[in-house]
């Protein structure tokens, strides 16, 4: 145990702990801290979220955030490579890292009497990751191999093309894994610079959820992170995607014997007032699964399942509506049944979208979407890791109140709002359509 006197003095504004065991505060160095007590099982999850992801990657450096994430598992002077794995595993814990459009995040979930190693580990690798040149090269092979594995999947090849075509100016246009050419040429110096630029307490959010008392948890986090100096400036790319002036189409030819269709519309950012009406629209059209807090329900009563899967045109239909910092995409993906062509599915989707634009959704469809969200929320509270994920992610694209008030805001949407957003966003001119056709 470290001596108590090594803890830096706390000189923060007074913030009361909420009665249900919740606190959001910030350390003097700018680290945002979100703490939520949950005592149903003796486990605690600890997360650090960095505000850096593929949206911060310029041409030539695509995939750099993900690669940096890999390098944070390759050792520091305090914890040489491999030691952390052993440390966490032998306590019965689990850990991982994620890279996404808007964030890079790391977590450990541990039995509650061992959890304080987690802030120590994360504080250490916030500034002390080694980026040993030999490890950088070994990881280049691993990442290229990860990309090869993704390329084995036709749906990856299709969505990568659709995404690239949908964005002409904004870095949301490349997949998180990055373009192969950039992965071949990126240097250790590029990676280390990216790390030192964006990994700072004032560009991060620490989240803990589980079986602890807030004052102790805050002390543990202060002890670990309090001495890390903030960065003077966190640079941001300032690309704004211009309005799309016409439909874009791509046909991807590839191996296999199954055809796929993807249609992507530009969608607003998570904090935009139109986002919640789109959540309802998506639940009615394709099912609530894509924006689920726990895994959600099936989509067999959604309009597109009934229109595409029941008449045996498609084997599967799915959708993706993702909360993001800047405007991203709302996309629909269809797996065609043998012998069916993408244009058949496309015509049906067009008709269903027209229906959303011309008729109000029925009250029972609206109620169903609300009830699904309420159940989903209840399931999500069973796992502390899941709670930590949502508190952290919502801090990245909005703040934690986005997550906590989600059900209330959803209930305030009206059928008229849903019709309006269908007319605003689901237009032919602002969409990108991709077909995957097997060459055989």
């Amino acid at each position: 145990m470290m001596a108590r006197r090594s803890v830096p003095r706390i000189s923060r504004r007074f913030r009361p702990v909420r009665r249900d065991g919740f606190l959001k505060t910030a350390l003097d160095n700018g680290l945002t801290v979100v703490l939520k007590e949950q005592h149903h099982a003796p486990v605690i999850t600890f997360w650090v979220w960095y505000r850096v992801g593929s949206r911060d990657e310029p041409t030539g450096l695509t995939g750099i955030s993900h690669w940096v994430e890999h390098m944070l598992f390759k050792g520091t002077p305090t914890y040489p490579k491999g030691t952390l794995d052993r440390l966490i595993s032998r306590e019965g814990g689990t850990w991982n890292g994620f890279t996404w459009l808007d964030f890079t995040a790391y977590f450990e979930t541990l039995p509650s009497d061992r959890w304080t190693i987690a802030p120590e580990i994360e504080a250490d690798r916030m500034t002390k990751a080694l980026f040993h040149p030999k490890e950088v090269e070994a990881e280049r092979t691993v990442i290229l191999s990860e990309r090869h594995g993704a390329e084995n999947n036709p749906l990856f090849l299709l969505s990568e093309q659709v995404q690239a075509l949908a964005f002409q100016a904004h870095p949301y246009g490349h997949d998180v894994i990055g373009w192969p050419g950039d992965l071949q040429t990126m240097t250790r110096e590029d990676l280390y610079r990216h790390y030192r630029t964006y990994y700072a307490p004032n560009n991060a959010v620490a989240v803990a959820v589980g079986d602890f008392r807030i004052p102790e948890a805050l002390r543990a986090i202060e002890r670990a992170f309090g001495r890390i100096r903030p960065a003077l400036e966190i640079p941001r790319l300032r690309a704004v995607e211009p309005p799309q002036r016409g439909e874009r189409r791509v046909v991807v030819g590839g191996e296999g014997n199954t055809a796929y269709l993807e249609i992507a519309y530009h969608a607003p950012e998570a904090t935009h007032p139109d986002f919640m009406p789109l959540v309802i629209l998506n639940a009615v059209l394709a099912g609530s699964g894509s924006l689920s807090f726990s895994g959600g329900t099936s989509n067999k009563t959604s309009r597109l399942y009934r229109a595409l899967v029941e008449p045996r045109i498609a084997a599967e239909v799915g959708s993706s509506l993702i909360p993001t910092v800047e405007p991203f995409l709302y996309s629909l993906t269809v797996t065609l049944q043998p012998g069916r062509r993408p244009e058949e599915a496309e015509a049906i989707i067009d008709a269903e979208i027209q229906r959303l634009q011309s008729e109000l959704i029925r009250p029972e469809e609206f109620e169903k979407a609300l009830k699904q969200a309420r159940a989903d929320f209840a399931y999500s509270s069973e796992s502390v890791t899941n709670q930590g994920f949502w508190y952290g992610w919502s801090e990245i694209f909005a703040d934690y109140t986005w997550f906590e008030t989600y059900l209330e805001r959803l209930a305030r949407v009206t059928p008229e709002d849903v019709q309006r957003v269908a007319r605003t966003y689901l237009t032919r001119a602002s969409r990108t359509v991709g077909w995957y056709l097997p060459r055989a």
Partner: protein, 444 residues
Amino acid sequence: MARRSGPSSILQRVRAWAVPSPRTIAREVLPNGIIALAYENFSSPSVVLSGLLWAGAVDEPPDRTGLAAFTADMLTRGTIHRTFHEIYEAIESVGASLDIGAGYHTTGFSLKALAEDLPALLEILADVLRNPTFPEEEVEKVRGEILTDLQEREHDTRRMAGLRFRETLFPGHPYGRSVDGYRETVQGITREDLVAFHRKFYSPERMIVAMVGAIRAEEGIEAIRRAFGDWAARRPEPDPLPPVSRPDRWIHVHTPIPGKTQTDLVMGTVGLARKDPDYYAAALANCILGVFGMMGRLGDHVRDRDGLAYYVYSRLDAGLAPGPWSVIAGVAPEHLPRAVEGIRTEIRRLLERRVPAKELEDNKSFLIGSLPLRLETNEGIAGILVDIELFELGLDYLERYPEIIASLTAAEVQAVARKYLDPDRMVLSTAGPEPELPAGKPVV
């Protein structure tokens, strides 16, 4: 700094926390043979119901492979009381989920709902298991979905490597056939086959139903009784499984899938049944080989040190009968021979040298200490309750588990590895772009 913790402190920790035990698990055997289990957890307003009944792929004729899975997929497509639409409207309109799927010996089901919606949904679950009607039109819809999936499988390197591995390891045995079936066999399955399979094999005898969540245990048992208590069907005894033997030589099979950029591999042998006395030592050996941390010694050597694979891990499928003990990996095609050699080197090391004390303790500590994480959610608890019944582990299993693991020795780990694993006599199944030959052994 973190405190060093040996298994003794972990043992105390797991003991101090109340795991489900004979004092907190309600268990009742209904007159028709159903084993009903209930465990209370009021931390969220939801309930999970998991279970299984004894109808599986081992019961299907070889020319109807995929019949058990097709039957399971059809249950929610219409019953004597409800249409497909009514069933899913009831499930989805309350944000519940219902999954039903067949395995080799059993068909499993899992229902998740808010506690307030449970009674209505339990009625639906009972209806779909007991009274499906297999409407002709729905049979064709589901057949189309299955055929699309099987068509996608033919171009999926991971799934094809796994499929050919099973076929080669278990020739002439039900475990060597795909539970999902094959395009030809699924094409040949008729509505009559589905009706007959359901009528013959779906039965409450020894069926296991576990209810976990925001419901009083006695109410949970009572709800199970109301839903299933008057079900009286019986099924014939299953045919005995043919004997299996471990490969007596190195066998490599390759499935070429042109246009792919990565090769997936499955390599291994026949392991043991869950009830085998060797099971715990084998589970520990498997943990050391390819689970612990970022996938054990295989992860350290093949992925990390040599950078040869994106993923590599090992897996012990110990079920009602001996299943595969295998290593699974994804590699760049040009690295395949070196990756296979790396895997074989690690297996050999496990046979030749005793696991060092510290590594052994770390692995035991992981197996014991990860229990709280596995028991965090209703699904996690329900899954373990079903296993406790299925493998007759006893309601005190979770209390005994830490001692069972703590008492294992390095000599037992080495002995079990020697008994089952032989790096020169295994099946290697690869699927990927080129007919790449792994170094070392002749190819058959």
